[in-house]
Amino acid sequence: MGLTWITGLIRRRTGRLLGQAAGVALVVLLLGSLGTFFTAARGRMTSQAFAAVPTDWQILVTGGADVTVAQKTVLAGPGVTAAATVSFADTTGFKATISGTTQTTGPGKVLGLPPGFAASFPGEIRPLVGAADGVLLFQQTAANLGASVGSTVSVGLPGGGSATETVAGIVDLPYSDSLFQSIGVAAGSAPQAPPDNVMILPAATWQQVFASAPSGSTATQIFTSLSSQLPTDPGAAFADVVGRAKNVEASLAGGGLVGDNLGAQLDATRKDAVYAELLFLFLGLPGVIIAGLLTSVIASSGRERRRREQALLRVRGASPRRIVRLAAWEAGLTGVIGVSLGLAGGALMGRLAFGTSSFGATTAQAVAVAIVAGVSGFALSAATVVVPAWKDARALSIANARAVVGTPKRPLWMRTYIDVLSLGAGSLIYWQAVKSGYQVVLAPEGVPTISVSYFTLIAPLLFWVGAALLIRRVGGTALKRGRAVLARLVRPLAHGLSGVVGAGMSRQRTPLARGLTLMALAASFAVSVSVFNSTYAAQSRVDAQLTNGADVAVTTAAATGLPATLAAAVSKLPGVAGAQPMLHRFAYVGNDLQDLYGVNPGTIGSVTNMSNAFFGSGTATQVLATLAATPNGVLVSDETVISFQLKPGDTLQLRLQFADHQYHTVPFVYVGIAREFPTAPHDSFLIANSSYVAAQTGNPAAQTLLIKTNGSPPAVAASVRQLLGTASGANVQDIVTQQKITLSGLTAIDLAGLTRLELVFALLLAAGASGLVLALGLAERRRMFAIASALGAKPRQLAAFIWSEAGFVAIGGSILGGLVGWSIAQVIVKILTGVFDPPPEHLSAPYGYLIALGGATALAIILAGVGMLRATHKPTMSILRDL
């Protein structure tokens, strides 16, 4: 009988079956592809973390251990692929005489590197000018000394005396924080700032220079590289690397302490992995739930018919168990079609969006997620078909199964105001969270466990639930009590029939309010996802711009700075919208050497983003205006304000290097706080007027040129490089390349890919919710339209009924959904504020996508309405024969 039943369903109820299967497919597609995507993303985050560390371990040789033996022990450690001995020595300072003027620096470090170090540990040293090996001088030291390639520098030895070396190249040490870390200090102790003055020598030279250095002034570290074969999960990889580090320490038996750079990196990545999970929860799961609801609505649209069919079966002696079994056949068929379509669609989507059907996950991971998604699809199918059939079979007598009449009792949630309570509770939790400025994810450094404030995550959940139920309530109430208003609203469509149409809609309030809610939910999902993603993309660009400085940035370490005519020449290049020079100097604040940036406050904002988040004493406009109005003004960091007990208007004496290469005191006036600034480091720095810095130091040379483009940044960067020539020694970097280089752990999950995926889903859901629900709702009332047609209703009169309902669902759902989506995006952005760097000041609206969303929804509704109109144009004889 099952087969007969299924055959009958396929032949007679094709639309309903396909509708249900489409809903299941959407759930499987969403769950499968997002699940695989995030599983793959975790693996990518681990490999990105691995790639971001130039030296995995720095093992400090201690206790007088034999360095050669220690190196062999380390090399024998699990997964170790390379080990190189690096010598460190203290120096009392460097001295150089340039153009007859002698410059002296404070204490510093001298490194001794073995041959082939750069090849084994690429990224640790970045050559800027001159040779890549030999005697190398750190760019900041070179700036302090005014030294360049070929300069002779005297190295002050710790035990007294000095050695003289000729500089072969100027280099940058991008990872100086980790390179000069204090190994073996207690976790949580204050980090030690890297030295400003560094020289790098070949190992043999270092040995000669520091052969008689007193003990305690030199140290040896074994720089270690590990195999990239790590567990894909960042948390598991962290535990694995930490375990291996302990293993090596145990093997060295007190002869070495591991500075675990890779462990520290993975430690931070673990937090990003949790954020990635939260993104899945916030941005993916609502879509899955809405797709499930959509399926449920599609299935329930045939419930009355199914009840009648059940009643007939029971009249003919079918037991409730048999009826449930038949429903299970239907659910099985829907499940098989839906799951197959969903998985195939997921694979196709992966291939289209990411070039691989597994989204970059391993086969085992992809299969595991596919199984979970498939089981969920079958469960959904069973929940929407079998469960209602089972409930009906148990609860209804044959007589009342055939006709359920009367006004249904108001649901419990409506009577108990669950919607209002949910919104209230959600607001309270949200307010508490925002007020206390908390972080949803806390991953204390070195501690294996991560703390996630799941309680706070309830806020968006409560907002979703509350908003959905409130829309249902408001929609129902508006339809019930607003008949007269409805009639007036539909008059342009329905003319003389407006009263009847309004009355009809009022009495159809249950399905219409359900359609309105689903439409609003789908729209709110699309809006919240797209707004969140757009805001994230905007902030990601701000972050990249902050690091790079502008769309294109030209920097030089040369003391003479960039050519004075460069800004004017660059401005004339195609694709350049503007160019602004920026001075980059160093200044002593007390004993602390800080970066000093000289800018024109009135024009700097024309070439790079000046976010309010960059400043701590007002908006960007206010702070820059204050700086512009105070020629000797300076913006300092929060730390400097606290350390020096500064108040606005206080004079701050800074020591700057003048044209004579000597440091002289220059008075500045403290006018505000700068927390971040394009190209500036994350720690303390200073911002001043470039004209004042140039006038005081007698050196107007700019070290940086910030360029705003109105074309392709890489293309502009190429043009600028050509303009500068190969011998300039200047570095030209564009924002697109920078975004790829400075991927954070979270950015590594390729939110752009996720965005594409989610936006397509959201579009499908919105179109599905509007079109499908409307089509099915109207199809269920084909009989009504056939009767109206038999009474003589003209197509335009039938259209009045159809378009009025469609308009209510589509326009009402879009407006309410847009409002809810925007609010939820605001809540998610606030709660996941740790994802953003810097935090956004406002949400970004993806207008193009929202227009496409509106277009797709309108198209789906028009198609559904036109389809129904065509079907009602001529009354269906099979229906009329039944009358």
Binding site: A403, G496, G792, M877, L880, L883
Partner: protein, 224 residues
């Protein structure tokens, strides 16, 4: 010529069903004039309803010709000169009883006030005034059928086609309903064609045709 409401010649209606062709009506030739009272009698499945649908322009004949000389082209028959009363429940579920009855007047372009006045009058005729604001699901099948008949008479049709109009009524109510129907038809000058099994219902008509196996026999003697 002007009093010929429907003229049909050699009408046939066939349906395709599972690869076979089913003949619902074959070679029907007839004329219906103004003020005619015709009872269509015949067993279930004989083709009565098909014939009514063809008369009302709801269906298109497979072969043969049908025209409505005094009523106009097929597109102008409903709402207006031709009205249908269906055998089963045919009220629009989301509309109240009075809104259902008023609907044909509104569909024909009447004002809401006119439609409501006409509907109120007809509900009074069929003793449904108290149920005016009820929804179809809130009243019985018999009451729904009476409301359907009232709706068919709304707007003053020239030809009423009623399919088993008293099928769900008891004898007494059915008889009262038929009397009211005929009085109303007389008042408005409306021709009536009724498909029925019930001789008592057929007795209200001067002419009685029978339909058997899709064949229309019009040479049945006048009833009274």
């Amino acid at each position: 010529m002007d009093d010929v409401l429907v003229r049909a010649g050699s009408l046939a209606r066939t349906y395709a069903a599972g690869g076979a062709t089913v003949t619902a009506l074959a070679d029907a030739t007839f004329t219906i004039r103004a003020l005619d009272r015709v009872a269509l009698m015949g067993p279930s499945g004989s083709g009565k309803t098909t014939l009514l649908h063809l008369m009302g322009g709801l269906d298109t004949p497979s072969t043969g010709e049908i025209s409505w000389p005094a009523l106009g082209p097929v597109g102008s028959l409903r709402p207006g000169p031709v009205a249908m009363a269906f055998q089963g429940p045919s009220l629009l579920p989301p509309l109240s009883v009075i809104e259902n009855v008023a609907l044909p007047v509104l569909l024909a372009g009447g004002t809401e006030r006119d439609a409501r006045d006409e509907a109120s009058r007809l509900l009074d005729v069929f003793e449904l005034t108290e149920l005016a604001e009820k929804l179809p699901e809130e009243i019985s099948g018999g009451q729904q059928q009476r409301a359907g008949l009232a709706r068919a008479l709304a707007g003053g049709p020239k030809l009423l086609l009623a399919d088993e109009p008293t099928g769900q009524q008891d004898h007494v109510t059915g008889a009262r309903m038929m009397e009211e129907l005929m009085l109303e038809a007389d008042r408005t000058g409306c021709a009536v064609v009724i498909a029925t099994h019930d001789p008592a219902v057929a007795s209200y008509c001067k002419t009685r045709w029978s339909v058997k196996d899709g064949r229309l026999i019009t040479e049945v003697a006048a009833w009274a």
